[in-house]
Subunit: 377 residues, 2 copies
């Protein structure tokens, strides 16, 4: 527990002003669950927003009283003396709207019907999330974030902050991210979605009322996801062709260690995650494309941005490859923005962004050290 | 129809000698469906065996009378004057045992029960296939093949011929193949299998008796497969982020062109392919490892081989990458075998091995031209 922010508490903010989504759908009221670490300084200039990826949530650092094992998902990165230093920064993490960890989402009760939203919960975009996050910032009295930080889908939200609210963010850290998905990425998401959508227990999204959960589909989606988060090499090193038992069993039970690992991960995820949230998250990934309104031109799309940027990619990440990160860097340079770009040599594929890695952490530490010099604690 | 072998006819060979599988299971009798093109020469020295991959079959070249559209799957490669020249060679293509195109497989009637084999059909290996193919060669009076040729899983069978029957094969062409799957490849297969196994319509493999087909699972398996057969680049070129309609529809219907393509491919495949055959094929892929009995040492495994080899890989193939092909080449060189290796620059990923490509075809043509000089037509 050394260097941890220690015991933390989730908080809940209630919003009663309707939020209009990109799709045109309106959410009359909603709740956002969030956590904060560190202290907001007098002029409220040291705030950091952490945006989560597909399966993340508001519990970013520390642990809950009486439950020391449930550490925040980025506790290695965030805490006193850590790369994102809570002695200097006031860090905010939230569960995104549409999530399944406390913020209003498909499994929440729809006040209009008294039933879970299910299929009624509107499809949400990265733009909508940033809108809801800006309202949370208002609530916390934060006019401008020192930095908005995220990996993967979280990086897309950080980028969107720089486009939607250039005045409200001084630095953007986009890690293992992309300006927009490729066809291959959309394809993987579509297979995952189809696994859920065609699960007979999905009931068009209203499975809650049937007392069932589309476990099969969610499990498949996660198994597939896991393959794409790891590198071929790390899988070879970790599992290779190793068998669980000594001999082939010539059947369809678990046989290779990699199968055991994948199924375990799939089962664990399916037991705790909401299928509708999974669908929403993948759609938000697919839709995000800042160049959409600019004829596909990222240079024009990023002309609005005024923040400074740190873009980080990992060599073996093939889901969000270094090439994708360079597609963020290029239009920023074109617009003469200040951009630092680091391509980290790491064996761990897309998952690298969540892991301890000296070079990666040193870069974030150095960058955030400079950010902290811009204000008085 | 120019340069096609023209009208062909499938034939059927009945085998009444029991075949013992690697698993210990015994198939008392079985049928193999096959086709032949060209003429077997007097000393039966010009025979070629074509081994098929996951979804292939015996209809390799030409077309059936009255059905000119149903061309063989490798008609571009095989025919008079083509790289595998039927003016010189006698070419044999078969549907593998366990298949779903006429050879005995899970959907065939089990004579013991009068019902489809279903779950009773034994798990089959590449070694078992080669055994059954050798019996077909016996039946056709072919003591030694001039060449055994295959792509992907077919390449594994070609390699196995050189190990199980070194005296019966003079040349092996292993295209877009691997000596053994990596953990990542096994992982993709396991997700595909789980999609089928957990489909409620699978009924443990005995779905035939329930009048249903595990379409959902088979469809997902094929969609996933398709992603891995194409390169990221070719998907980007062909589909990119293009939408089917002008605007986002903010729902889960088909929206991006890539989704439309994948679902179409999935539906088409699920309507015609047998789910149990799919499972068997992927397991055969996973199991194949000539080094299994040699402590993982491919050098020792390939010591038995005496054939000459042509190994071909494609630069953008990430399912069976060039690295995997080099893992075939290395132990062959170690054993001082004659090996030619070509790494073809192609944008089309794993599917390249089925496509017209001047450089690729020239190499096969040149190699097979030399093979044809070894005998008198």
């Amino acid at each position: 527990m050394d260097n941890s922010v220690g015991i933390v508490q989730a908080q809940c903010a209630q919003f009663d002003t309707p939020l209009t989504f990109r799709s045109g759908a309106v959410l009359p009221r909603y709740e956002l669950v969030y956590e904060t670490y560190g202290t907001l300084n007098a002029d409220k200039s040291n705030a950091i927003l952490i945006c989560h990826a597909l399966s993340g949530h508001h519990h970013v650092a520390g642990y809950y009283e009486g439950d020391t094992k449930n550490m925040g998902w980025w506790d290695n990165m965030i805490g006193p003396g850590k790369p994102i230093d809570t002695n200097k920064f006031f860090v905010v993490g939230l569960n995104n709207l549409g999530g399944c960890h406390g913020s209003t989402g498909p499994s929440s009760t729809n006040p209009d019907t008294g039933l879970p939203y299910g299929a009624c919960f509107p499809v949400i975009t990265v733009e909508d999330w940033v809108e809801s996050q800006a309202r949370l910032a208002d609530r916390l009295g934060i006019q401008q974030f020192a930095a908005v930080i995220g990996g993967s889908l979280g990086g897309m939200q950080a980028l969107q902050w720089s486009l939607a609210y250039p005045d409200r963010v001084r630095h953007v850290l986009a890690i293992a991210s992309a300006p927009r998905l490729t066809a291959q990425n959309i394809a993987f998401n579509d297979v995952a979605r189809n696994a859920i959508l065609t699960d007979p227990d999905f009931h068009g999204g209203d499975f809650y009322q049937f007392g069932v959960v589309p476990t099969r589909g969610l499990r498949l989606a996660r198994m597939l996801g896991h393959i794409t988060y790891l590198s071929d090499d790390v899988m070879a090193d970790k599992f290779g062709r190793e068998l669980r038992t000594e001999k082939f069993n010539y059947g369809y039970e678990v046989e290779f260690q990699i199968e055991s690992y994948l199924r375990y991960q799939g089962d664990k995820f399916a037991a705790r995650f909401d299928a509708n949230t999974y669908l929403l998250m993948t759609k938000a990934l697919d839709y995000f494309d800042p160049s959409h309104d600019f004829g596909g031109d990222l240079n024009r799309a990023f002309a609005r941005a005024t923040a400074d940027f740190l873009v980080i990619s990992f060599t073996t990440d093939w889901r969000f490859s270094p090439q994708r990160s360079r597609e963020i860097v290029r239009p920023l340079l074109h617009n003469r923005r200040r951009v630092s770009y680091a391509e980290i040599t790491s064996a761990h594929g897309h998952d690298s962004f969540l892991m301890d890695h000296a070079h990666y952490f040193d870069i974030v530490r150095a960058y955030m050290g400079n950010v902290s010099k811009e204000f008085t604690a």
